[in-house]
Each structure stands twice: as structure tokens, then as C-alpha cells.
Amino acid sequence: MTWFTGITQILLVLAVLAAVHVPFGNYMAGVFLSTKDTKAERLFYRLTGVDSSSEQRWKTYFLSVLGFSLVSILLLYGLMRLQEFLPLSNGKPAVTADQAFNTAVSFVTNTNWQSYSGEATMGYLVQMAGLAVQNFVSAAVGIAVAVALIRGFMRQRSLFIGNFWVDLTRTVLRILLPVSVVFALIYIGLGVIENLTPDQVVETVAGGSQVTQTIPGGPNASQEVIKHLGTNGGGFFNANSAHPLSAPSPLINLANIFLILLIPSALPRTFGVMVGSRRHGWAILGAMASFFVLSLVAVILTETTLSTPATDAAGAAMEGRETRFGVITSAFFAVSTTLTSTGAVDSFHSNYSGLGGGVLMLNMMLGEIAPGGVGSGLYGMLVVAVLAVFICGLMVGRTPEFLGKKIGRTEITLASAVILITPTLVLTGTAVATMWPNAADSILNADSPHGLSEILYAFTSAANNNGSAFAGLNANTPFFNTALGLAMLIGRFGPICAVLALAGAFAAQPSTEATPGTLPTHRPLFVGVTVGTGLIVSALTFLPVLALGPINEGLL
């Protein structure tokens, strides 16, 4: 894989994303601005007793999110614990209690952290009726919360921010399902498997009757698409998107990256259209793109220019990479999956150089805002923008305002809560894990800085709802299953609570007209300030632990 091929592939994906950004963003705005329900939606509302014309205050909206997610966790947990009695389980036993807890929380929180091997642990019914369903609805929850925050900017003197059940239903039926069906058919046509065939044991071509190989089957194509589209990331196979039955060609690999970035990069357009200021949508997208380009360049450079005996011998840093995809496209995938909340992988992040792995961790530590997870990226970036407005206001002596909303004590308290919850979970969790009896037994590289990086990566990934891993850590222990499960649960809904409260606070405010004294929040200068604010906040929070782990490793 040459530089030319790798860079061309990156530019191709970015060009297609640029082409669909406006129409797809406009389409999503139309979905949420529409006052009409479709026939399918009306039927669904009748069956579930939802009054689609009613609206909710922020607290009711949040409790709806929370209640829906708790029921989802309990149902998914039950499915896994009863797996051995269910059809299409192919003889697989029940998932253990701690792993079922971890997995249920993981998929409901859009994290899709996996302490299990997909093809060895989960039957087809659990995959289809449990995990795949959560891939859709957990993504829809994120988008619903982002739309609620947008409504906070749209409205004035209102106590209401929308109806969670309507937002959830519309996101699934009008956005996620149609795109998933179309791409699943394309994926099947391009060789991704989709069947209910149990594992087949076959004799290898060269090995004779004594050498056999187990070839897994399964309904993979339909789940591969929503795995990326919903920035979920949980793999049908243990090797995730490096598995040849999941990504049989470099074209599918590029399509996977496209799907990962599709919704998060189009949502700023949706935001711009809904608030009636497309310039602000471009500004938010500009901040996201700045982070993305910086990270992509950094990882490509660390993986292609660092010289070690192993990379020199192989001609490139090929350890843990698929030769079909190459170093540069693997770096593109890795940056895309860690700057969103996806967590799918087409290469082993643990095999990246110390500094390259550190950048991937920093991507998650930024809060996955560039462009971020579906919905969570947009609301995360808007919170950073609110913080940037507040800091700018303090520096230049102007009243902090964003889209006509004043950033006062209430707003900055809630924005700070959003920003502080996740780092608290990451740093506390990592500290507890390093001291926990026998936790070190899970670490493959306990005698090097990489050992700390493995734990730090796990808690960073869990608390930020990413789901990717440094594979050297054996996380299938009662301690890690429980601790990471709690990190995912609080890391998802803690910030969502503050974001919805922020939406409520903005909706309650009257809009103020822009004056000559108002700080412009749609110009390149503000984009730069927002990027700087995000970087500085993350650096101040995480630099010490990054110095002990990946930076230390990179300097050794």
C-alpha cells in the first residue's frame, strides 16, 4: 500500500462525505422539523400509547431516556442469561452474569465494548433480537438528545424541548432503517455474509483430513452496516472489521469509514438548518474538521515515519494491520473510529506506536466531538462551544452569548458538569484498577508503560462510550466487567442529563438580538478558539496520565 493509494482513498471518502453533507443534513433537519407523522409512526404510537402531539420538559425527557434504557438493559441481560434455552443459539451456553451485565450496558449506552468473542459467545437470536436492536435504538437516543439541545437554541420562553418517543421513533424509522437496508443489500452484494448457517467445520485444502477449519456463519451484513452507521462498533466477529467475512475487500473497508462519519458529519448541517443559521452549522463542522485533520496527520506520521527494528524489517509498521488495508487507511479508520464513538477496528490499536496509540486515546479524551458519535458528537461540540463563548466573554469583557442565548451561571454550571463527568470516571477508574488486587493479572504488558496504557485506554473507551480496546487487556474478569460497565452507564447518561438540563435552560430564555457588542460565533476566529478550548481542557485534564503511559512509551 503506497502513500498515493492511502491518501487517494482518504480523499475519496472525504469527497463523498462532502457531497452528501448538505442534502443528508437537510433531510435530517426536515425529519425533526416536520409536524406530520407517517403511517408507520402513527401505527407505532397507537400500539405504544404515545401521544405524538405532546411535549416534554427536560426532566421528563431525561427520565424517558433513562427509563427506556433501563428496560433495554434488563431485556438484553435476560436474553443473554437465557441464551441456552433460546432458538438459533447453536449450542452456545448462557453468558456469565458479569459479562451479561457489561455487554447489556455496553450496547444500550452505544459503547459496544466487548469483553467476549462475538462468534464464540453469542447465538444468532441474541445478536439479532438483542444486540442489533440496541445498535439502532442506542444510536437514536444520542440523536434525540442532540435534537433536544438544538430545540433549546430554537425556542424562547418555553419549558419544553420536544418528545423523546417521537424523536426516537422518527430517527429509527426515517433515518437509520432506510440507510441500513440500502447499505446492507450493497454489502451482501459485495460479499459480506448474511445467513443463519451454523459454524461449518471443513477440511483445509492443504492439510488433509487431520487439519480442519471452523468457518462461522451468521446474519452479519445487516449488523455490519448499523454497527458503523450508528457509531456502535460492536463486532459480529472477534476480529471486528478486520475479519474477511465482515470486510472482504478494501472497498467495504472504505464504505465502513464512510458510514462511521456519515451522520456525525451531517448533523452540524442539521443544526444550522434547525436554528436558522447555516453559518453556525459550518462553524461547528469547521471545528470538528480541524480536530479530525490534526489527529489524522499525527497518526499517519507516527505510524509511517517512526523507525524501529521491527518496522524497518517489515518495511512499515505492519504489526496488527491488515495487509489488504495498509498502514495509512488503517490509520484513517482508527482516527475515524476514535473521534466518533464507534469503537469498531480494522487494525489492532494496541500495536500502534506509543505516540500513535496516545493520539487515539486523546481522540476519545477530547470527548469524541470531531465529528463524534451520532448525536453525542454534536451535543459535545456545542458544549465546548458554549465554554469557548464563556471564556471569550471573560477575556474581552463582553456578555457571553451563543445564538442569542446568554451563557450565565446556570448554563456554565451545566456545561462544566458535562465536561467533568467523563474525565472523573476515566481517571478514577484507572487509578482504582491499578490498585485493585489481581487486576494486574489482566494486563499483558504489566512491566512497561504500555500496561498502564491498556488500563487507561479501557476506561477512556468505556467512559466515552467508544468501545475500542488495547487488546492486551483481558477485560473478561468480574472486576473489569463490573467497573467498566458502571463507567459506561454513568459516562453515557450523566452527561446526557446535564445536556438536557442545558437544553431546558436555553429553551426557557428569551432570545436576545445581536448587537455590535455581541461576540461573533460563526467566524474562523471563533472556530479556532473552540478548537483551542477543547484541546486545552483535555490536555490539562489528561496530560499527566498520558505522560506516564503512551508518551513515556513513545520516548523509550
Partner: protein, 73 residues
Amino acid sequence: MDAPFADLLYLLLAVATVAGLAAQALVFEKVTAESATTARITDPSSTPGTTPGTTGSTPGTPSTPDSSGEARA
């Protein structure tokens, strides 16, 4: 091999954590109470039974909330 009552313990853990998150909403409600009060005081039309903003409110269009709780368009 799971410990005895493992299911019960993990279900209790999930419920307790979610309950804690719900309690967080009560804390933030106090934080936002000032804004909500401002909205009620500032908007003279916000009396029970009036028409609220709909899902698709036009940007910049004031909506008139129903302060009794759930609202209908």
C-alpha cells in the same frame, strides 16, 4: 460459574445506578429552576391549558408553554 445471587446483584446494581442518575436530574433541576422561573414570569401567556411549541417550532418563534407539565400541540 456465577456466584449465588449474581443475577440479583447485577440487576440491583443497574437499577441503583440508574436511580442515582435520576437523582442527578433532581440536582440539575434546582440549577435550572432559575431559568424556568424566568420563563414563567417573563411569558404572560404561560398559563395552564394554552398551546405549547410543537416539535417543529420555527426558529425564533416564541412558544407558549403549559406550565402544568405535559402539553399538547
